[in-house]
Symmetry: C4
Subunit: 450 residues, 4 copies
């Protein structure tokens, strides 16, 4: 019963490591094979067999690993095998089979020959070159990693660029040696270094002119034309993208900086006094330190109802645990209220509410301490989890006391409109609100009506 | 009665092939003519006559092909002829007439002379050069293709860039040979390859220095100055644009990626748990797989009423066929309702409706299956085409049951406001809605009130 | 009474030509002076005196030309003179006085000497170099042109870039000769051409290496360092900007193209049928052909009330002349209504109104013809200037007839809300509307109720 | 009691100067040390001791200077010391201690030796090289300056780029000499200049080819490869950023220009007459001259209530002092009203209000003069601080008079809705408004009802 043996999962940390291994093997297979082909190295050493082993392992995994096909996950061996045989199997097989070694085994004279015996030698080289088809799978592996892993996407793209840049540079350098333009007299490693050097002086458009194609070789000139068109384009594309990527490595911080520049520009233009400027800057710095963001959470708005509720529940989980009104509330009610709360932040000494003001909202204090001031003198201090400002909603329109932040404060604002609607729909909430007010009025002098 | 013979249409697949042929002929005419002029090739072979034939055919077509002039399509031969004679006719005629051949025929000594006889030779060359005026029409042809064909515009622009790049590179290389800077001793093809090579090392700003203008030739230095200013600018412009174009080849996918990066960044910043993160990512992946888009259809909003209705009818045609309420409805009613439906998607196990919630909308299930849960236990399964959630709109405010997605579901949301307005205006719809509810309540235990 | 002679205006076509002349003179003065200084040309020919004359004329104009200082226009000679003496007067005077000629006159031996007499020669050269200070005024002149002239700003910036590029290139080339790096043996023009060539190969980063600084000259190496840092930066900046500018030369067309690409992408993604796709594209093409824009006129919205009214009056002047209801209306009424009309466009065969539909607006036909259909058969054709759709607003909610565009139609939409408010506030309008309806119902069979 | 001595503040002008000094010392320490190491200069002169002194001073400051750690400011010596010892102390100490001098003192033969004695010499060099670790602190200093100082952020970033560019260029040039690629025969300064020259020709991708790595030195070729990859990337990144930064040096002006281009484009497209075009342009020019902005103040909107109120109070402080209604008003009322006023600007001769128009707002004149026209003839002139337009709000809907701007006018608009709400909530305001109207009607013929 082969179906009882569970297949490997299609994502997770194990798959990511496996993918990283595959990437390494594909890169090594391509670079080493092309290097050996270029310089006519014909031995089959440990490295060759290691790569072959990884490639063979990949075929085994291909038959035993769940795959995601569009939105569906194929998890039974039969569909996995069908999907694999129709897909990457051929490429994997061609790359895995040690054709080069087989040919060398069958025609030992080919491996031994240093020159002549053209056809056999060519066959051997083609056999070895087949190792390089694995490179074709790299894009798919990168996509797989990108989709399953929540790494920084800019970083991911940098790695992808680096991979392709190294591969392309290496292949162009090998080509340069192959067409006879390298310095033939030197050892292989030196030739390779000089080919890389020529390649980079060309594609970075430096063009010292110390290594140039032979004026009498049409082939070398044509090859250089190709490198110029393709390589220069690739290099310019990569440099341009890397610059953008570096600038955006931390998207959130980039947004923060742009915001701060706009703010500073605005403040300077309006000649706002230094003290007030500092307060505004401190406000954004606070938002940044606590939320890693300078804006509220509009991303949740475009998600479907059920997902956005879950995200808001998660983000506001601390408030819900702290506010007495919410702790025992119905789950449905909690889900509704979290979508109506607006997060706000206040700096020390900021007035959240001013006595005498018209009140059109209430607040829940989710972090920090505030003081209650009546006629300028402190009558109470409220800690986190306290609701305040509801008295004006319940009994009149003017604020009966001021509320001033003592520390950095995070509050949630609930508008009068939403408050009234919620009380209408949820009698439990209505009852609790009334109770809080009653308690406060009767025996709790430390929390006067606001 | 020549008017009875119908003219060729001004757009369509035939016209596109014709335009592609013209492009090829204009490119060939320009490249071949300039190459032959540069290297003093004087024979008139099959290629010359083939190009001439295509150019002559173009004149014939010019008189027999409908044209779009602004918004009006000219379709009768008289206006076509008038429009053509005032427009491209002169260019087409000059390019089509075999001046070079005529001169060679009239003054056989010019064609025979390898040197001397300057004036006649010049005349011959000018005659031949006239073939190149056709290149002036290329922009118009490209515009024509772009407007009539719904190909990817980025791809189209890449092709245009490629065309002009090849033409400019070729002409600059020919110019280099003409001013005597090529390696005169070599065969024509070799000279040409080296001229191309010089040209590309210059405009890609590589500048090896193996081919440079003669230090004693003011003409060559001045020519190089021109190539540096124009060529470098052109190359930089093309590289910059190609990079952008490649990045945007699939605009929709680029938008999707940017969206996913924003989402990932937001989720990571808020430290949302991995499971919830995966659900959010799956949601966007699902939108992408099914709609090739991560947003709803706001583009339709800015079209005039009649067009946006037709597009929405088309997009929602499946729903309309599936939902019983809509199948026999008045066409006017259908047109009104499709503009009020909001498409939403849900993942398996998402709650679309929660029992006890306040209900302010109803849904139409256009794809997938949902289960109806009362007090947590399944009482029914609904298939595509089912409306649900309307009971709360009709009879009370609280949801009487939960609805949970069993598979990926596409639903259309209709708000209470729109629902009430439609029922008021369209008595038929009102009646049908009531009937569905009645049926369900009476004898359909598998669909309880929601 | 010098005040009676009117001063020259501070803007207008005359001022623009004058500014163009100044630009030319400043460019010529700088280029020619530096060229002559570099190559030791010492004669004072017609060109020298011509430039001097223009510079002198500029001083005269400085005292007789109104200037705009911030928002105030100085128009009396006294304030003009005060403003000029404090501003550009010194620069203009230094540039205008023929110091070089004076020194040559006073110390004839300086002008005659080909070598030696260092101090005097230096004095002469400094005297001549003063002609170049005029270049400092160029930025101010360009700003003046940009502000007073309604030319394409992208084109203007291209010209500015071109000006500074030519000036900087020329000065860098002169510097190259001055430090002894030019090919000293050749004639001046040849040296200059080669200096330009070196300069351009360097700043365009080509660097052939055929002209390089002398390895033994620290001065030449340091000069090259300076040109590399400054010149390469400048060239890169200009190439980058020119590419952007070329892409945006016609801002409106660029917006149109981007729009079309979005639209095409959307249509293709949704697999909208070809016929419907064509209609959508035709719609945008029509908007573009008639309005040179793909959007309505939101720019007017942010202007102050009085200006936006005037612009809308201007834009809608044709409708106001055509629609009978508006022709004799109160000016105040016209001003109010134009801010409430929304322009819309329809293609031939588009339904503007469908019989049986709920009507919440009326239309004014400002261009094109429409047909009135009852039950599918045509009962009337309406020409431009006709109002329609008002019957549903007056008497009931359903449209009594369909209106279909026969040609491309421009209509203005007036919503029911605005219509009711206007009728309430303006009894004249109310009366006229009623009359039109009455007339139509009584004796005008060609215009049935819509 | 060491705590009684106050610590240095963590921000302010003194700190900024101190930071600038540190930057200079770090740059000097790095550049001079690496230069001396490269060319084997072994003496310890005044400059060496000066830099050492600044580094020692920095350690002293590290223990006596308040620091901002996240949002908290550490101000007592104990926490400062703990924070410093855990942070930069090690780096500062290593950089400050004169290791090089100590080694030279202990092993005088090392300092004297011109060759040989490798190990000791290496030790000496490493000792000296430790001076360069200070460069690691530069990023932190720049961040400190950026956060505490309200300089133009673009300018700040230019300075940062410049700093790193100079440092990197210098180090790359020193490396070139160190690997033996410089022209060994020349004096140190000449070698250094040529190394800089080679370095810049390479990273600016010019590549003349007059200085290239020795073809027989693998080390030099590999070093060049490194410089090509890193240096070209860095140079491209800096050039690209500098171009953007220069373009945005004055963000506000850039926004203004883009706005003006859009406006001009719109006006030209709509063929608006020249006079009206000029008025629109003048309007934006006026906004720009007075506000350094073309838009209202939406930035205040996203700040928390208390901060936005304070900013609006500051911006509108002039109006509040001028308008009689506001001068003695309650502070709470002032805070409410400033958030409801919309600033508007009018040009001379603009109608702010037209007689007969429907009035839905009132105005406060905060700058300029307006005239009151009834039936076209002037009946009064109002100066700054005057409210007008309230009569229509109080008594009827139509404007009884026109108000036309005589000069550039700044007014604040208060909508009827807000006006009614404020009168309801604030009886004092209501009373004052009534009084103004009464006074005007009774005995003030110079201000008729509007």
């Amino acid at each position: 019963m082969p179906k009882r043996v569970p297949v490997f999962p299609h994502e997770g940390i194990g798959k990511t490591f496996y993918n990283a291994l595959l990437l390494l093997a594909a890169l090594a297979g391509t670079v080493i094979t092309s290097y050996r082909l270029t310089f006519g190295v014909r031995d089959f050493d440990a490295l060759y067999w290691l790569i072959t082993a990884v490639y063979l392992l990949d075929i085994a995994c291909g038959f035993n690993q769940a795959v995601k096909k569009g939105l569906v996950v194929l998890a039974d061996r039969k569909s996995i095998a069908r999907h694999y045989l129709r897909g990457w199997f051929t490429v994997d097989l061609v790359a895995a089979l040690p054709f080069g070694w087989l040919i060398a085994l069958l025609f030992p004279q080919a491996a031994a020959a240093s020159g002549g015996m053209g056809a056999l030698l060519d066959l051997l080289m083609i056999g070895k070159a087949l190792k390089m088809v694995k490179i074709g799978k790299v894009s798919a592996i990168f996509r797989d990693i990108r989709e399953s892993l929540s790494v920084n996407p800019a970083l991911m793209r940098l790695v992808t660029f680096g991979f392709w840049f190294v591969t392309a540079l290496h292949l162009m350098a090998c080509g340069w040696v192959l067409i006879g333009a390298g310095e033939q007299g030197r050892p292989a490693a030196d030739q390779y270094l000089r080919a890389l050097y020529w390649c980079l002086t060309t594609i970075a458009t430096i063009g010292y002119g110390d290594y140039t194609p032979d004026k009498n070789s049409n082939l070398q000139i044509a090859y250089t034309l190709g490198v110029m068109v393709f390589g220069v384009g690739m290099y310019g594309y990569i440099i341009g993208n890397v610059a953008t990527l570096i600038a955006n490595l931390d998207v959130a911080r980039a947004v923060y900086r742009t915001k701060m520049e706009e703010i500073n520009d605005f403040l300077r233009r309006q000649r706002v006094p230094a003290g007030l400027q500092k307060r505004v800057r401190d406000y954004y710095a606070y938002l940044w330190e606590t939320q890693r963001s300078v804006s509220a959470v509009p991303i949740a708005a475009e998600l479907p109802h059920s997902l956005s509720q879950e995200i808001l529940l998660f983000i506001n989980r601390e408030l819900i645990q702290k506010v007495a009104l919410f702790r025992n509330a119905d789950e449905i009610f909690i889900r509704e209220i979290v979508q109506r709360l607006t997060p706000l932040s206040f700096l020390p000494d900021d007035y959240i509410i001013r006595q005498g003001e018209y009140g059109d909202c209430m607040y829940f204090l989710s972090g920090g301490d505030v003081e209650v001031l009546i006629g300028g003198s402190r009558v109470a201090v409220l800690g986190h989890g306290s609701p305040f400002g509801e008295t004006a909603l319940l009994e009149g329109e003017k604020r009966m006391a001021s509320i001033r932040a003592l520390t950095y404060c995070d509050v949630y604002r609930l508008s009068k409109e939403d408050f009234d609607q919620l009380r209408l729909r949820y009698p439990d909430f209505d009852a609790q609100v009334k109770e809080v007010v009653a308690v406060r009025r009767r025996g709790a002098p430390e929390k006067p009506p606001v």
